[in-house]
Amino acid sequence: MYRSCALLLAMIMALAWHSPARASGDFECSPGLKLNHSALTGCDNMVILQPGNDTRVNLTLLLLDRETRTPVRKPGDHPPAPATAFFEWGSFEDTFFPKPAQPDGDNNSYADGEGSRCRSDDAGTEAFEAAVNATTKVPSSERADLIAARRGLKPNCTGASAGAAAIADVLGRMKSPGGKAFARYLRGAQAFYDGDYDTAAAQFSALRTADQPWPRETARYMLGRVEVNRAQINAFDDYGSRKEPSTIDGQIIARAEAGLRDYVRDYPKGLYTISARGLLRRVYWLSGNTTKLAAEYAALFALPPAERGLDDGALAQEMDYKLLPELKIADTRDPTLLAVLDLSRMRGPEWPDTSQGHDAPIAIAELEAQRPYFASDPALFDYLLAAHAYYVTKQPAAILRLLPDAARQASFSHLQFSRQMLRGMALEAVKDRNARGFWVEMLAGAQKPYQRSAVELALAMHDERGGALDRVFEPGSPIHDPQVRETLLVTVAGPQLLRRRAKDAGAPLHEREVALFTLLYKDATRGAYRDFLADQALAPAGAPKDGNFLDLLAEEHPSVGVFAQTAGTPEYDCPSLKEVVGQLARDARASKARLCLADFMRLNGFDDFMLDGQRPKDQLGGTPSLFPGPAFSRLELYKAMIADAATPGPDKAYALYRAVNCYGPSGNNSCGGVEVPTAQRKAWFLRLKKDYPASHWAQDQRYYW
């Protein structure tokens, strides 16, 4: 459960160190509940710049810091970020850069990112019509002819477009100079869409001196675009992948670059400046010119999002596809790009017990060599040094020297927040006695999305490890994140705390239900039978009883009613749970009642239940449970009863039968506890057959696994 992002998760781009995450989809992605993440999982992103983050997240956080204002949320936009410290890329992007719903009338059949010159046809038609209609110098009859011809073009980029004859006809009929310019433009556009780039270039060149501003500017832009499309003829292989290395004629690339650069120079705020800059990046990408591509992106960093036509998230996304897979540290001197590369090179292996697929981390000397490039941003460089000390050389004391205390702030930039969080992590690592106070001080400034929950997590882990769990749940506790609170309740809380939480009328309903469910489950399975009978009264009448019990915290209403069922289970003629527990309260070793308790667990789907699991030691909820008694395991229960000479024959037969079936039919144990080898399963099976041949269970059992 704890690392359940499914197959191919990190594979989307099949690049080891920058793969995009799975976004918040239909199925949960379970983060590791801790502050330090060195491996890319896609589930563990935080608003702390760190190696385990998706590169898009680290890049976006740095880009957001360049903007002086925080994103403005308009009423009716997406809901604010959920109270959680962890996110996948998709929900992160939606939180910071909410997008309106697609209009209903959108008939575009081209996907985002699909590179076809024909995809601009609809917008091109609209712009052409608007420009023609605005040009009153052109007689209205000519305007109507032009518009009709443009509408008739309908290119599809697989063959010649439909409107060639009509355009040739219009070209001959134009009398006004303006009409002629628009008609010439149309001829160029038709040639462009049809892939006749020589004709297109000739027509657009001829418009350089046109009087009409729209055809003149648009033709200038189109000249560059023609060359980009000419470059694409030989840019892709049979698989639709970019050819590497590029085989495109260098002269075409040079013409495309010059054409687009000239346009951007002459029209810095033109109709197509944003698009021309995008095409320029495409030229660099097509030709495999990583250095120029990196420089172009670095230049975009300085522009406000409106001028680049991309918000920070979209920019990070594009760079993740187009630049980061190729980018080496030697290709750039931009501190933002370097920081993203450096952090990704501090990553650890995906699975801690293996080094499968793991590259050596960046050396401190290589990092130090970048120092001059961070002259404008020493705080970022110091942070990278500190991250290196934390994740690579594991020297927390060095971090405290690199990152001075600045925990008291009205708000944090993402870099400032990262610096202080890392300082706090180092304080914890050196067991500084002021660590808790440090986290508390950080709370006030943790204002940006996901920041607050990260600090709450730090504080909760501190208190959990310091034996001060109750403090998390005190009135006025600053820890509000339900994931943090409820995780502690299901993992480490003892019976008194659970009971208090279940009874606290001021607590959130879900938390109360989680506490009560955990209490009743652990009462029944950890031997607190009398408590169970008393605590059962806390369950409200009509509480739901049909949960799937996969993830207690994800259920809208934890199904506490399951413990109040009045029906028994017929298979072994068991009474209701209440009666079973009542018998155990009188005699904890009552063998049939024990088997009936196990049957209750089996039939209600509690095998491998999360309340019997153990979170990793370094995560929230990873300390030993304060609830007395061991985790429940049917296998251990059956083993004990098989070994106990006092177990009556029929009960022993059933215990043997159930123990054998723990491994059926897959051969995997579904009953928890300590695994036994096949030979032991075979021995149980034979003993069932030999000692209890007349029992229903011996006769029913034909295999062991």
């Binding site: 992002c5 499914a6 197959l7 191919l8 998760l9 594979m11 989307i12 781009m13 099949a14 690049l15 080891a16 799975r22 976004a23 918040s24 989809g25 239909d26 199925f27 997406h78 996948e88 998709g90 992007e93 939606d94 909410p98 997008k99 719903a101 697609q102 959108d106 008939n107 575009n108 059949s109 081209y110 996907a111 985002d112 990112g113 699909e114 590179g115 697989t158 694409q232 840019a235 892709f236 292989d237 049979d238 698989y239 639709g240 992948s241 970019r242 590497e244 596809y321 897979p325 995906e350 699975w351 293996t354 499968q356 697929g357 590259d359 799937n548 996969l550 897959s666 051969g667 995997n668």
Partner: protein
């Protein structure tokens, strides 16, 4: 179905006692040169081994779980592979597809076909959890209705479907898809203990292939070749590691 000779040889080698004595370790590494079906993901550079492929699964795009859900192309251009069976792969983060996503994916399929490709069908790559297979099957049934009748529908599958998958869910999938490719790797890593899962493939009632990772570990379990639903392998190509 008759597969390449190399695969039959590999299976024989993997049988008990059949390992080549001179280099037993190397036999466990997936050498793409011994296979004829491949995935080509975005960002993975084509390799010469593709020239001898009889079928290629090409990632075309990704349905992203944004709000609104959107389809993002991942392959820069339309392929031109008239001599090879092609599956157009769609990576899927969410099953909540709005109408434009269907429209864009079907338009892509049509463009791939009109470029002269032998597009067998669409493969959906979605990380359906074992206990949600019935929901997934319902989605696929609906998708199937959108597809041209002469195109097939395939899916990737998770290894643990064979042992933990809900049998009803697996049956529901079997009635909807033409094939499933079960991946024995996660990310760039072969799943430790994959053999334990594979041992229980008898539960699969769908024609299936095994998805291997280029350079990853692989040892065919006994009985795989005899499984009536087994159709062969697909190798996930990887870029060579730097250095």
């Amino acid at each position: 179905m008759i597969r390449g000779l190399a695969i039959a040889v590999l299976l024989a080698l993997a049988a008990p006692g059949g390992l080549a004595p001179e280099d037993p370790v190397a036999e466990n590494r997936v050498d793409a040169g011994h296979y004829d079906a491949f995935w080509l993901w975005a960002g993975v550079k084509p390799q010469p081994v593709l020239a001898r492929a009889t079928r290629i699964y090409l990632l075309q795009g990704q349905v992203e779980a944004h709000d609104p859900v959107r389809y993002v192309a991942q392959r820069p251009a339309i392929p031109h592979l008239p001599g090879t069976d092609i599956w157009m792969v769609v990576r899927v983060e969410t099953l909540r597809w709005p109408p434009p996503v269907y429209r864009q994916i079907l338009a892509q399929l049509a463009r791939w076909r009109s470029a002269g490709n032998r597009v067998v069908g669409i493969q959906i790559d979605f990380d359906a959890r074992t206990r949600h297979l019935e929901d997934y099957a319902a989605f696929l049934k609906d998708l199937r209705r959108h597809l041209p009748a002469d195109r097939e529908l395939g899916i990737t599958g998770l290894l643990d479907w064979s042992s933990n998958g809900d049998p009803r869910g697996l049956d529901a999938l079997a009635s909807v898809v033409d094939e499933v490719v079960l991946q024995i790797y996660q990310g760039r890593h072969v799943i430790p203990g994959y053999a334990g899962y594979l041992a229980r493939l008898e539960r699969m009632k769908i024609p299936f292939r095994i998805g291997l990772l280029q350079g990853g570990d692989w040892r065919a379990p006994a009985g795989l070749a005899a499984n009536p639903h087994f159709r062969g392998y697909v190798v996930f190509l990887q870029n060579p590691r730097p250095g």
